[in-house]
Subunit: 432 residues, 2 copies
């Protein structure tokens, strides 16, 4: 990109579809990203912005003039527009809203008013509506006149005079129905509709469970407000699944792989700070046994084994329960059973690894008593790990804390503290 | 479920859609699961099995008679059938194949022959094909006679006399096109087709990137073999995203939350065994410094802090790079840049936490020299963590090892060993 091949690169990117330009921008370090963006024709801005992830998009928009942003956002679909505006810093989004023309601003403000992460926020308003008393022939004539049908349309919606949703007609049914039959004869009256304030994760679950391609969105009076299409749901499903993985490592899901160094350092430091506190807590527990440790250095050497095994076992349980909750498998009805199952696994795991570690230590350090102590501590910590791993996410959900975000660090703290107490405590009682 | 409410439960589940019955089965402990299954009418078997996750489905099928399995699988779509058969133990799937009638067996064996996780494996063969020289009017007459169009059909495929794919026609275009125009006039000749041996993760990426609802599958001569629909792709996207999270905790993605205790214990033990080896390795490193530890018990107390911080920082980098690779953002072209970025973050993180921990220790233990030693070790380990976190997944990918599966454990081993060496080594040189 450095050399005189500027014109060549410029031509190449303008031949690419918007989603590929977005991928290129996201795969570039921030400096080249700015250079690439500056090369791009203003006509491409809207389509490319739509495809970018939040972090990258905001980085670009905050460097643009508000008027240019408005031009770029003009052609966006309403759901993408709402998402873009809501993710921008307030001062920027206000400037942008102010520069919009009256009609666009109203549409945008309407979508924003439903609240982020709801059905109303992700819906589009381009649904095609039909009346129930017309014949297929009339509809076909109307559609031929209209000439174009919005992208991803697989279903038409049948509404009454006051826009109440009364049925749905799959596009394919218009093709197979006899021309003289009426919409009423072929429409599906039991079609499910999504309430406008349903959280987007629940919308995604419905789509995944029933294999929908699109679904109508209605208000509390069953008035049709818009439709949600599968392509937006795919993004939600992916983000939800990624969210758990990223949160468990203490990362923001939208974190940009190629963000500037200082920004990344700052973001990740929160998690490191939390971990420093828990590491110091574990050290403080060890500190209680300083006298024991100074008498037997071998305890210091083996002190990390029991906490480490507990941490791994506990995290396995935690991950499984968090996933089970995300899939809707874990609920109040079966949580008791789940906890006792994980306790039993903890018990068996404890027994297996207690015997193994006792043998290894007895042979390595030629001390059967020491082996017995570490075996006992392992047993205790594995059971604690199973109990904590299964209980924590359930308790945190009740307290409305995201278990993926804080579960792992609390769990590790528990298994560290229990592990050190069990090992050094028993050692102090029996060996010193 | 215990009491005489048997008939009531029986009636209730038969009123539920198949996907909800599947959810109920997946949310039940294994004993109630068998009871529920036994209550179910044989007519429901196929639809419910289709919706179950692999682990749960296999548990149920292996308890059924082969003939009953064949009856249940008969109505499945070809892609679901292939997936079910391939996930069964070989002996069971052979029995099932043997009991099938000739035509079904051939279809199933054909799908299996494409190899698991390829486009051919997940495609359906129910695509509707059109000839290019007919008019819309003729097509509409044909479709009305046919009466039904397969589910999730959003596109028809235009093929030549020898079944070569020459274009696509969206269903909606048939509605808006004039009756006397021919397919040739309205078809899209540049439609992209998926090669039959493309890996399913690549298929999913294409769908997500281009917002497809379906896509044709072709062989190397561009002969149309079938089509892939978005509902199957949604499952792949979710499984891919879950896969990383589950693997990082050493779990199988298909692991059933409510599996029997012994089965779960056995599955999770592999990862615990690996962790035991690495924990013993870390202990062996500490063992090298036994003389130092027996002289200064305070070193034993603080010995876990530096490895723990390195582990967290390294896992953040690792998770980010694994996600970046999954999204297609990280490639050979920018990996150098990425490694130097993560090294720089490691350096800054190291500096910040070195100063902080040094102050805490100097105040807590009233020993500035000890604070200096731990600060130095922190610096070294944070840089090592950044380097290892960024390099490991890239190296593992080259070696064709799944970074999500083994990356985290290798990384933690590195940060443990480097952390202990840096801390106890420096302490031995300067403090004892």
């Amino acid at each position: 990109l450095d050399s005189g091949r500027f014109m060549h690169v410029r031509k190449t990117i303008h031949d690419m579809p918007a989603c590929d330009i977005a991928l290129l921008l996201e795969s570039s370090p921030s400096k080249s990203r700015t250079e690439l963006w500056d090369m791009l024709d203003a006509d491409f801005y809207g389509d490319v912005l739509e495809e970018l992830s939040e972090d990258v998009r905001n980085g670009i928009i905050t460097q643009m003039m508000p008027e240019k942003v408005v031009d770029a956002l003009e052609d966006m679909e309403i759901d993408d527009l709402a998402e873009t505006l809501s993710s921008l810093p307030q001062s920027v989004s206000k400037d942008v809203l102010k520069s919009m023309d009256e009609q666009d601003r109203q549409r945008a403000e309407k979508a924003l008013s439903y609240g982020e992460d709801t059905a109303g926020f992700i819906m589009n308003t381009d649904a095609i509506t039909l009346r129930s008393d017309v014949t297929i022939e009339v509809i076909l004539r109307y559609l031929r006149l209209k000439g174009e049908i919005p992208e991803s349309t697989d279903t038409f919606y049948v509404v009454s005079r006051n826009d109440t949703l009364i049925g749905t007609v799959p596009v394919t049914k218009l093709l197979t129905a006899m021309p003289d039959s009426s919409i009423e004869d072929i429409m599906d009256e039991d079609a499910e509709a999504i309430p406008v304030n349903m959280p987007e994760t629940d919308v995604a679950k419905l789509f995944a469970r029933y294999d929908w391609l699109s679904a109508p969105v209605v208000d509390s009076n069953r008035q049709l407000l818009g439709r949600i299409t599968i392509d937006d749901v795919v993004d939600i499903i992916r983000e939800d699944a990624e969210h758990s993985m990223m949160s468990m490592a203490g990362l923001d899901d939208e974190e940009d792989t190629f963000a500037p160094v200082l920004q990344s350092t700052q973001r990740r430091s929160v998690w490191l700070a939390v971990n420093l506190v828990t590491a110091l807590l574990a050290a403080a527990v060890s500190d209680l046994f300083e006298a024991t440790l100074s008498q037997m250095a071998v305890l210091a050497i083996l002190n990390t084994i029991v906490p480490s095994m507990g941490g791994v076992a506990g995290n396995q349980t935690l991950t499984l329960v968090i996933r089970g909750m995300a899939l809707g498998h874990v609920s109040a009805g079966n949580s008791k059973w789940l906890i006792s199952k994980e306790l039993a696994i903890g018990f068996f795991n404890g027994a297996i690894w207690a015997v193994l570690i006792a043998s290894v230590i007895a042979i390595w350090k030629q001390d059967w008593m020491l082996g017995g102590v570490i075996a006992f501590a392992m047993m205790i910590n594995m059971i604690a790990a199973g109990l904590a791993g299964a209980t924590l996410p359930l308790v945190m959900k009740k307290l409305k804390i995201d278990p993926a975000l804080a579960g792992s660090v609390i769990l590790t703290t528990i298994t560290d503290v229990v592990g050190i107490f069990a090992f050094l405590g028993t050692a102090t009682l029996l060996l010193v």
